[in-house]
């Protein structure tokens, strides 16, 4: 997949060392073996925190091997079984786990019921500090004006019936977070934009697969991106501060995006310089917007809103992915004292390098794979 050998990455500005952190805590990370979770656990380790990684029973063997500072508990958040016990000795919970696959009910069970069970267990276990990971998807993009600044005060979607399952379930999840905060707990809600990184460079904010080609929607919209390691650092900074009454972080909602956000074209060109990307067909945003709006009007007026079309033809979903808007991370930077360490170029190069390392590791490990595992 790598198109050009990644040059040695100058990471003098980005290299991080283990620190003797005065705010050391026992962090409990759900989704700790996932795309973001692995980086969050690694960042927690670098900053000297002990972590408890909650993994689902069938995932227990995945991810990094356990470290002395890292405990693993096998729980499925959809069940209350063992959750309270797993939180023993925990200072702060970082809740990353969510279900992004399957039908609405599967995602509701994994994301919403899972959160409900976790928060109930935290209450029973006396754990009151929560770093709640939400998403940029909760905002109301349909009614946003093109070019508008999306920040933490922007309205969330109050009529998400036509949004995708992920947005709908994350909106309900945020309500649970707010209920938990109203009950007297210390909660900060982080809303990351599109999190990119290894094996996730060519993503849904650029377009969609369309047969053998990739249909790109628009060229000039700013992408609300955050590189996975930048995002992980913001999450750990939030975890360190949420228990500090002087930080005034409890009750806050923070958007997590990187500095100097690229446009769709800028990002696509940079990614294409490093990896093979599929052949693309680009449709201008105004054209796609007009087509989807016409289809929605037809559906509402002639079909009583009962017809279901692919997501790109539903304005509520199209706007959430491709509408030209502006974004800011000012609040997160101020309250977390956070500066995204990786620039776009550094992040893409680091991702490509990580992908290459992952492939070589898998290749060298192949002789150890059993016959059964290959089937």
């Amino acid at each position: 997949m790598t198109k050009r050998a990644s040059s040695p990455i100058l990471r003098s500005a980005t290299t991080r060392k283990s620190s003797s952190n005065p705010n050391r805590a026992r962090l409990y990370v759900t989704g700790g073996t996932g795309f973001v979770g692995r980086e969050v656990v690694a960042e927690a380790r670098r900053r000297g925190h002990a972590t408890t990684v909650a993994t689902r029973p069938a995932s227990s063997g995945r991810g990094d091997p356990g470290r002395s500072s890292e405990a693993r508990v096998s729980v499925d958040l959809r069940s209350r079984h063992g959750l309270v016990e797993s939180l023993d000795g925990v200072d702060t919970v970082i809740h990353l786990a969510a279900t992004k696959e399957g039908d609405f009910h599967s995602q509701f069970a994994g994301t919403v019921v899972g959160t409900e069970n976790l928060l109930a267990a935290m209450t029973n276990a006396g754990v009151s500090n929560l770093v709640a990971i939400s998403t940029f998807s909760v905002y109301d993009y349909l009614h946003a004006t093109p070019g508008q600044l999306i920040d933490e005060r922007s309205p969330i979607d109050r009529n998400p019936a036509l949004r995708d399952e992920y947005a709908r379930t994350k909106l309900v999840q945020e309500e649970l977070y707010r209920d938990f905060a109203r009950a007297g707990n210390q909660v900060v809600i982080l809303r990351p934009g599109m999190i990119y990184g290894p094996n996730n460079l060519w993503h849904a904010l650029l377009g969609s697969d369309f047969g053998s080609r990739f249909l790109r929607i628009g060229r000039n919209a700013t992408l609300p991106l955050t590189y996975v390691e930048n995002c992980a650092e913001a999450i750990i900074l939030a975890a360190e501060r949420i228990s500090d009454p002087d930080s005034a972080l409890a009750g806050e909602v923070l958007n997590i995006v990187d500095d100097n956000l690229p446009t769709q074209d800028e990002y696509a060109i940079e990614v294409a310089a490093h990896i093979d990307v599929p052949p693309t067909v680009t449709v201008p945003w105004p054209v796609m917007n007009a087509v989807s709006s016409a289809i929605k009007a037809t559906n509402l007026h002639l079909l009583h809103g009962r017809a279901k079309f692919p997501g790109l033809l539903v304005p509520d979903r199209l706007h959430a992915r491709f509408k030209p808007l502006r974004y800011t991370n000012a609040r997160a930077k101020r309250l977390l004292n956070w500066t995204p360490r990786f620039t776009l170029v550094e992040a893409i190069e680091a991702s490509v390098e990580a992908e290459a390392n992952s492939r070589s590791t898998r290749h060298s490990a192949e002789p150890l794979v059993s016959f059964e595992d290959r089937r």
């Binding site: 689902r56 029973p57 069938a58 599967s106 919403v112 109050r158 309900v172 017809a307």
Partner: protein, 394 residues
């Protein structure tokens, strides 16, 4: 569901606090049947769509049924379902629901292993019960439940939803009017990738409750198989049966993932053969029903309805095959277009469920016989038990 509605005050809390108007919902519609739903999994959307008058398969019949409450162990699930379908109350405790709401009908949509206990509770509280399949794990459990219903003078029925799909009704009509001749054989085939690890049955993290049933995951489909066969044959006793229950995937999560069953019974007009085939490894997803008569045969796919009828046609034996090709080709083209429309308009294979619920509520309102009777449920349970008996197994 709007974001604002999820935060609407829970009327149930008002009731518990003694500050709510606990009977106000029925004041103006006291002649309607008050319905409650227990369990908010995926099938609940179909039941609640019907109860809330939003079904696209049956005409809305305001005043005949009103959903009054939803119950689920998960508070947020109960609340979300209630808000989405404009149901006034939601609970996490069925006994409290029965006490405060006094529903006329309760839909039990929880995992099968809970059906008998929850149904008994509802019957004893004076509610009729509409239960998702399988209502019980065996004929003995079913008989005990029917005794409870009798002693409470309440009715209980099981979802035999596919028997009410228009495609099945069409084939029944071909049998009834003699087009297919005398019934000889019914073959039902379901192809579904239930062993996929990303699917709801293949999830090893939190195994689906259906795995605890005698036929494992296939128990989720045995009611469909048996009810459809018996729908065509009537309550024929199959005196010879053989069933190969297999786990071809060897996934230890699954008791069985494959069924090949053959049944032979004596119908009023001669022997009748039944064949069930469940295959988790083939593709694509299929639910075919093929009915052979002495004059011809008909088949349909309930997932992509297209009824093919092969019968003697004008032109005699020489031209009938060609006439069948032409007629079925035209039907295939017509259904290809229709199924595209069905997909866009979100018409799912659950249309039979809506039609069954509609008939059930009509019967409950008038005191008529329910469309799925106690004897229908007994015949299905007996046949499933028969296929699971050791002496039947291949």
């Amino acid at each position: 569901m709007s974001q604002s509605t999820i935060t609407k005050p829970d009327r149930h809390d008002d009731i518990r606090d003694g500050t709510g108007d606990e009977r106000s919902f029925t004041d103006d519609i006291s002649l309607t049947l008050r319905a409650a739903v227990v369990g908010t999994g995926s099938i609940s959307s179909e039941h609640l769509t019907f109860l809330s008058g939003r079904s696209r398969f049956v005409d809305a019949t305001p005043g005949r049924v009103a959903p009054v409450a939803v119950c689920d162990l998960s508070p947020v699930s109960a609340r979300y379902a209630a808000e989405t379908f404009d149901v006034p109350n939601h609970y996490t405790d069925l006994e409290r629901l029965l006490e405060f709401e006094r529903p006329d009908v309760v839909h039990i949509l929880t995992p099968p292993s809970t059906h008998v206990q929850l149904a008994s509770l509802c019957l004893e509280a004076g509610a009729h019960v509409i239960c998702e399949k399988p209502v019980a794990a065996s004929i003995d459990e079913l008989e005990a439940l029917l005794d409870v219903a009798d002693s409470c003078d309440r009715k209980i029925t099981e979802s035999h939803n596919y028997c009410f799909n228009p495609a099945i009704t069409d084939i029944s009509r071909l049998l009834d009017d003699g087009t297919l001749g005398q019934l000889r054989e019914v073959e039902i085939r379901i192809v579904l990738p239930v062993t996929d690890t990303g699917g709801r049955f293949g999830d090893a993290n939190l195994p689906h409750p259906i795995h605890s049933m005698p036929a494992g995951v296939i128990h989720d489909f045995t009611t469909h198989f048996a009810s459809l066969l018996l729908h065509f044959t009537g309550h024929v006793r199959f005196h010879r049966a053989a069933a190969a229950w297999s786990n071809h995937s060897t996934n230890p999560l699954f008791r069985f993932d494959d069924l090949d069953a053959l049944m032979i019974g004596e119908g009023p007009d001669g022997p009748i053969h039944g064949r069930f085939r469940f295959d988790a490894g083939a593709g694509p997803d299929t639910f075919t029903v093929r009915v052979y008569g002495s004059r011809g045969w008909a088949e349909t796919d309930l997932f992509q309805p297209n009824t093919r009828v092969v019968i003697p046609r004008a032109g005699g034996s020489q031209l009938s095959p060609i006439a069948n090709h032409v007629a079925n080709g035209a039907e295939l083209i017509r259904n290809g277009v229709a199924n595209l429309g069905r997909k866009v308009m979100q018409r799912t294979p659950y249309e039979g469920l809506h039609l069954m619920l509609d008939e059930t509520y009509r019967a409950l309102a008038t005191g008529d016989t329910l469309p799925v009777t106690n004897d229908d449920m007994r015949a299905v349970a007996r046949l499933v038990d028969q296929l699971l008996e050791e002496k039947t197994r291949l």
